[in-house]
Symmetry: C2
């Protein structure tokens, strides 16, 4: 008959102490029996396990974390989980964390540096074993140094332009941009716009460079038009409207990501034009929706799920190595998914 403890008529949480009392052994023995399993007689071990079960014992990981110094938790700091790209990355990351018995706390920063810093502080104060974040670009030099010196393992989802002490996981953005540019040039387009985000965004900058390189390396004369704006659907919509009046001769658009591409689609429909008849369009990311819109979007695929998973694996490896792993840079291949948003001229 298990002896349940009450206080204020409310069920008390059962602790090692109570198990110890019930089993007639010391707390330390209970601890050993419950965790390692080694260095404890089978008989007492079984006894302890039995009592723990009847008492419906839940170990207090907070207490354990206090002594071991590890929380078995990682932080995921992204701009917005509603962006399907990040949802996919998050799922890969969370699956990897789950497999390693780690929890993952989700933080949406909207890329605001104040929020970012607050989240980072909070994560550190909770003693997370690592942080996966999409970029460190929002932080000033001072903050970056503070982060690096703190020593918590960090994996970035892009490759900052300045040298940095963090691990990174990214797609081959340059190659993706190149593929998109090359594809449109090969289709016969000679005036091609690239709609992208802020210049500070490392991944987007790489895509832009690759795109321009593809146009330049062509034997034909191809005119690039690069427009910077918000790398969101709304931004894509606005940039396209501007583009259509300023440079009506354009026949193809390379959007820096699929969200932008969706905005392009909307703007083009509103202008009474058609894809791909009047304008060919290539996106980037290959989010699930890109295959569902009309027309299905040709886009550069990056392995989002795998990137999330890899990032967490690196994080955990790093947090497990006692003397601090050196930062690791991992870049994933990309490929062009040809659908129906482009036509040959």
């Amino acid at each position: 008959m298990p002896e349940l403890e009450f206080q204020n008529n409310r069920l008390m949480k059962v602790t090692l102490k109570q198990i110890a009392k019930q089993a007639g052994v010391d707390v330390s023995t209970v601890s050993r029996a419950l965790t390692g399993g080694y260095g404890v007689h089978k008989a007492t071990r079984d006894k302890v396990l039995g009592v723990a079960k009847t008492l419906n014992y839940y170990p207090n990981r907070i207490a354990r974390g206090l002594v071991t110094g590890r929380s078995h938790t990682i932080g995921l700091l992204i701009s917005d989980i509603r962006n399907p790209f990040f949802a996919e990355v998050a799922r890969g990351a969370e699956d990897a964390a789950y497999n390693a018995s780690f929890d993952m706390v989700l933080c949406n920063s909207d890329l605001e540096s104040v929020k970012q810093m607050r989240y980072i502080r909070s994560l550190i104060e909770k003693n997370v074993d690592g942080i996966l974040m999409n970029s460190v670009a929002g932080l000033d030099q001072q903050e970056q140094i503070e982060l690096a010196e703190h020593g918590v393992p960090i994996v970035l989802l892009n490759r900052p332009m300045a040298p940095h002490p963090f691990s990174t996981v990214s797609a081959d953005n340059y190659r993706g941009g190149f593929l998109a540019g090359q594809y449109l040039v090969d289709l016969g387009h000679r005036t091609i716009a690239h709609l992208t985000g802020p210049r500070t965004h490392g991944n987007l900058t790489e895509r832009c460079k690759g795109f321009l390189a593809a146009l330049e390396s062509s034997r034909k004369k191809v005119t690039p038009i690069v427009i910077h704006g918000d790398h969101t659907q709304k931004g894509g919509h606005e940039m396209t409207k501007k583009l259509l009046v300023q440079r009506p001769e354009v026949t193809a658009i390379f959007a820096a990501n699929d969200a932008v591409a969706f905005g392009v689609v909307r703007a083009i429909l509103e202008a009474g034009l058609s894809i791909p008849d009047n304008i060919s369009l290539v996106g980037f990311d290959n989010v699930e929706l890109s295959g569902l819109i009309h027309p299905p979007l040709t886009t550069v695929n990056q392995p989002k799920y795998e990137m999330g998973r890899a990032a967490v694996e690196i994080l955990l490896a790093q947090s497990n190595s006692p003397n601090g792993h050196p930062p690791e840079q991992r870049v994933f291949g990309v490929n062009l998914v040809e659908r129906q948003s482009c036509r040959a001229l």
Copy 2:
């Protein structure tokens, strides 16, 4: 000049003790100065704060949590964050958590009960202050009781069919189903299919009931066809293919959610048919994509973000009330968003 402590040539974490030594006061004083602010002389307080700043002190919330018994963390247990519906809910929840200085750990269960129980255990062991989960349907009676007795506040994103001791936040699913059915009937449709998920899914069951009620309450004779399958895009695709061969007389489809509707769209295109010319289609959820596909989807909107936010607010209120709040049921209104996927007969 701050005195930094080293061990093994590695920066030590700075603790209250070190601040205390540095400031020439006791740890408890430091604690008071840093937290409450009350009951401590301004001079000492400033002194302490100064030392803390130069030492770059990060409080250890784990240690604090051990003594206060609160972790300032909540769990979000959903089937899959890649489902845009949940991404939206998650964002609302996380924003509410952030505003209250709570962290949110993300768990993807895929509705597998083993995973669900493992996550729940893990969350409880981490001492979360509450759990927001989409359903408790995957757990058996025993597990539900254990959960309820444990006493951790729980908010569900649906209303289970059996009586239950948990708080819930949900949309008026019945009304949503009714609106969809009524809309199609008013458009003149007389053979309408409803493509839904498993019978155990409370929300979907409500939608189905509302739909059927609308058809029955019509003065016209309307034939409903209800098909159960996976409430995913894939499931929608399969159910539609089956429907099209078995009941070719159907002129309208009500999909239990937008994901299913996307599958319907795909299947209908593959069959060489067109929306809305041959088949009218209504979805449910109003996820962002639903307005972007072709044709833009008419769908029942539910306030996803607000639901996530409300759920967390209830959770926190509950975890703050000492004697245990009574469970609260909150249901949000829905509305039909008319776009271009339906036509009058």
